[in-house]
């Protein structure tokens, strides 16, 4: 897949990748940091705005595409990955980036997450993980700790262990797996840049605090720590995950393998194909 874009004469600053819309996000939401890091990355990579397509589902973070100046598709809940796959496979010259939250990606869209990892179509997937459903005002998500009792929907906790996105991605065959923190702007921008440049499905879990329903996540600022350096050794990556506390950052796994490539065939005209049906009398 070609990553060679026609470089335009005008150099775009990261602000040029933002739209005029004011985000619906709360003040202090981690998603602002992701929007900034993403536009910085696009600017650094000098990808023309019309070559970028941001695809999302439903949730606070899925509003992100509209805040950019690029092509965007804000679809239905949980289905960002198939939309992104359809676009990336049929228009391989575009830079396709799926974005969304933990509920969208790991709960309602969980099956697509597994199959996106193994299909390895050429696009990136940025999940803004705040371990809560913010848009519906504070319910437990798949990544919520089992003893979190802050939700009226699960007042005694979730009674189930949290979903492990990195382990899942590794097991399902994702060739690029990373974790970053929304406030660590430079590191996040670097990881996003690497994800975009990576030839294949690149998954980044981004810890992105919800100041409204999970204010304790503001402590992440002090707690996150560098934990991973890229390896292509799956065994090593698994071992690292066994010691993972959930807030260690870095690129865990980077092992390029051939991207999803649809079948090819020698060209035939429609008239020639129609002759397959003709009866020789």
């Amino acid at each position: 897949m070609s990553r060679e874009h026609q470089v335009k004469p005008r150099a775009l600053a990261h602000k040029d990748y933002k739209s005029s819309y004011k985000p619906v996000w709360c003040a202090g939401c981690g998603d602002y940091g992701v929007l900034n890091a993403l536009t910085k990355s696009l600017s650094a990579l000098e990808i023309p705005t019309e070559q970028v397509a941001l695809i999302s589902g439903i949730g606070c973070s899925s509003r992100l595409p509209a805040y950019t100046r690029a092509y965007g598709f804000h679809g239905v809940h949980g289905r960002a990955l198939p939309v992104a796959a359809g676009l990336a496979i049929s228009r391989p010259e575009l830079t396709v980036i799926a974005v969304g939250g933990d509920g969208d990606g790991f709960s309602i869209g969980g099956n697509h997450f597994i199959h996106a990892c193994r299909r390895n179509a050429n696009f990136s997937y940025l999940v803004m993980d705040n371990a809560v459903y913010g848009m519906t005002k504070g319910q437990a998500s798949p990544t919520t700790e089992s003893n979190w009792t802050g939700s009226k929907l699960a007042p005694q906790g979730t009674h189930q262990p949290p979903f492990q996105p990195l382990e899942m991605a590794l097991a399902a065959g994702a060739p690029f797996i990373a974790r970053a923190f929304s406030n660590a702007s430079n590191e996040l921008a670097r990881i996003i840049r690497e994800a975009i440049e990576f030839p294949g499905f690149a998954f980044v879990q981004i810890l992105s605090p919800c100041v409204t329903f999970r204010p304790e996540q503001l402590n992440w600022k002090k707690q996150v720590h560098e934990a991973f350096s890229p390896t292509a050794d799956k065994r090593e990556a698994y071992l690292k995950l066994l010691d993972d506390d959930g807030i260690g950052t870095g690129i865990l796994y980077r092992a390029p393998r051939p991207c999803f490539q649809p079948d090819t065939a020698a060209a035939r005209s429609l008239a020639a194909i129609a002759t397959d049906f003709e009866v020789s009398a």
């Binding site: 397509a53 598709f73 049906f277």
Partner: protein, 581 residues
């Protein structure tokens, strides 16, 4: 030469081969259809099987004719049973009478009661024994020889078909088969059956299934991307496109489920690539949320539903026309879309091509309602013409100023920004939105987009293809989809009795244009609405959306029994006798 064989040749005959799954009835049926086609006849082969993958019961139902054949007849002229395994399962589907002939393997004992009670003439023939006399041969090939001889097929055509089919297995097998055929033709000598066909009138024909025809129509319309999840009875569309799309520069992706299928298609179409998915009822049920997304984001998309018995898992291997309601209404909110229905195997090409063209021109989803009967039947047909319908979308030019993706226009159709085009960057959204695509919860914005989404469909000029309208008279028959074929034959029979009947078959189901339909029904004072749905979905849909003649009757039968011409003709004759108030 005995007396019965001197009966005058017929223009059409109905043949059925039955046996346990694996006995080879479908192979035998296909050889007969292929050979008859090569000999210059038209024909249709319908498959009827139980739900089993291997084993269970199977019937290949063939109707051959000098002229095109669109449906199965009411009754069967000749039935060949390779075994009586679970033949009782077919007692409703396969109608025998005193004029029918039944040939069964002599090793199989007495036929089941429904066969003997029909009064059909029964011949016990040494099918398996004859097969055993030719090492490597199976009874189904003996059946091919006997049927071929009774129908009067050119033996050369049967031999050619066999050679093409078995060439990969070597000349030795082909020689054995040909010797077996010779023996079976001799065995047919002592049998009497009035199913010898009149000489063919050879003309150009295509031999294909409705599912393949849908694939061909999709390519002609310009589809270059398909994502799909296997589901009976639509899988052959997917399999055909998987081979052919790469040949025209497109591709097919096998998705993880139907939610992914339709959303992948939406993604490709958002990128400017005409896209289609194919599924059956349960898959369509999963897709309706995304259908609404395609309506709201004005994304062109074709969804082919090869209908089967429902609800739920229903009868996956057999036909019904009961997905009309979900196709027209399925999804939350007001979501106008196109719904089209092919009314024959050849029309699967035409209607699918039209659906692609319309979806692209109108920037909305089009649901195409085929069914198991059309999809999995194989027929020799008059080749369908390539129409002037090619995917063409109203695209924003490069560097457009102040781009309004959902800006209103006189025809309700807006310019679409295609990724890669500078200046028309926008974010499509399933949220209610302003003309700019900016999300909005304002009543006026919501109203404007709903108006536009409906108006663009209702104002479009669909030309003359929205329905097939045949004949004149005060007696009318209104139908849709695959049932049209049996209805057409029923109408022909009633006309032959001296009555004037008009047939109207709707190809464009939605949007429904009451004015156009009223014109088509002008002068009709008695109308029969015919469909294969227990809940009379078509009848109710028409009643809700337009004025029908006061004296309108509904003939609505559930699947999987196909509506046969005799049943429809009888209902028409009853209606004709009724007093119009």
């Amino acid at each position: 030469m005995n007396e019965a064989k001197e009966k005058p040749p017929v223009d059409t005959c109905s043949l059925t081969l039955i046996g346990s799954g694996g006995a080879g009835v479908m192979t035998a049926g296909q050889i007969l259809l292929d050979a008859a086609t090569e000999a210059g006849y038209f024909g249709l082969m319908t498959r009827s099987t139980g739900p089993q993958i291997r084993g269970g019961e199977a019937a290949a139902v063939l109707r051959l004719g000098v002229t095109p054949v669109g449906c199965q007849d009411d009754r069967i002229d000749l039935l060949v049973a390779l075994d009586w395994g679970k033949a009782e399962h077919f007692s409703d589907e396969l109608v025998l009478d005193a004029d029918s002939v039944v040939i069964a393997d002599s090793a199989e004992g007495e036929p089941p009661v429904w066969v003997t009670d029909s009064g059909a003439r029964h011949y016990a023939v040494r099918l398996s024994e004859l097969a055993r006399e030719h090492s490597g041969l199976r009874a189904n090939i003996i059946a091919v020889g006997i049927v071929g001889a009774l129908v009067g097929l050119d033996f050369e055509c049967v031999k050619n078909t066999i050679r093409r089919r078995f060439i990969a297995k070597g000349n030795q097998l082909i020689n054995v088969i040909q010797a077996g055929l010779q023996a079976s033709i001799s065995a047919a000598d002592s049998l009497q059956c009035a199913c010898k066909l009149a000489p063919p009138q050879p003309q150009p024909r295509w031999l294909l299934t409705g599912n393949e025809a849908v694939g061909m129509g999709a390519l002609r319309g310009g589809v270059r991307f398909c994502a799909a999840y296997p589901i009976t009875p639509s899988t052959e569309i997917q399999e055909w496109l998987a081979r052919r799309l790469p040949e025209v520069g497109g591709c097919l992706v096998q998705a993880e489920d139907e939610l992914a299928s339709i959303n992948m298609c939406i993604g490709a179409s958002f990128g400017g690539v005409p896209a289609m998915t194919a599924t059956s009822g349960p898959g369509l049920s999963l897709m309706v949320e995304a259908l609404g997304l395609a309506v709201a984001t004005e994304t062109p998309l074709v969804v082919v539903d090869v209908m089967r018995g429902g609800p739920s898992t229903g009868i996956p291997t057999k036909s019904e026309q009961a997905d009309l309601a979900i196709a027209v209404y399925g999804t939350h909110g007001d979501a106008p879309r196109l719904v089209l229905a092919p009314n024959g195997i050849g029309d699967c090409v035409t209607t699918t091509q039209w659906a692609v063209y319309l979806a692209e021109a109108l920037q909305c989803p089009a649901v195409v309602l085929s069914d198991q009967f059309l999809g999995q039947s194989r027929a020799a047909i008059t080749p369908p013409k390539d129409r002037e319908w090619h995917a063409e979308r109203r695209r924003a030019p490069a560097d457009i100023a102040d781009f309004q993706r959902f800006g209103d226009s006189s025809d309700g159709i807006s310019m679409m920004g295609i990724p890669g085009t500078p200046g028309s960057e926008y974010t499509a959204t399933g949220l209610s939105h302003k003309p700019s695509a900016r999300p909005s919860a304002m009543p006026a914005d919501h109203r404007l987009q709903l108006d536009k989404q409906r108006r663009k469909l209702e104002q479009f000029d669909y030309g003359d293809d929205w329905a097939d309208i045949e004949g004149a008279g005060s007696l009318g028959l209104l139908t849709w989809g695959s049932t049209t074929q049996a209805a057409r034959e029923a109408v022909a029979r009633v006309r032959a009795d001296g009555s004037a009947v008009r047939l109207v078959s709707l190809r464009l189901i939605a949007p429904l244009d009451p004015v156009r339909l009223a014109r088509a029904l002008e002068g009709i004072d008695r109308l029969l609405v015919v469909e294969q749905s227990h809940g009379a979905q078509f009848f109710r849909y028409l009643r809700a959306g337009c004025e029908l003649p006061p004296h309108t009757r509904s003939l609505a039968e559930p699947g999987p029994l196909l509506l046969r011409p005799g049943r429809i003709a009888a209902a028409l004759r009853v209606l004709e006798m009724e007093q119009v108030k």
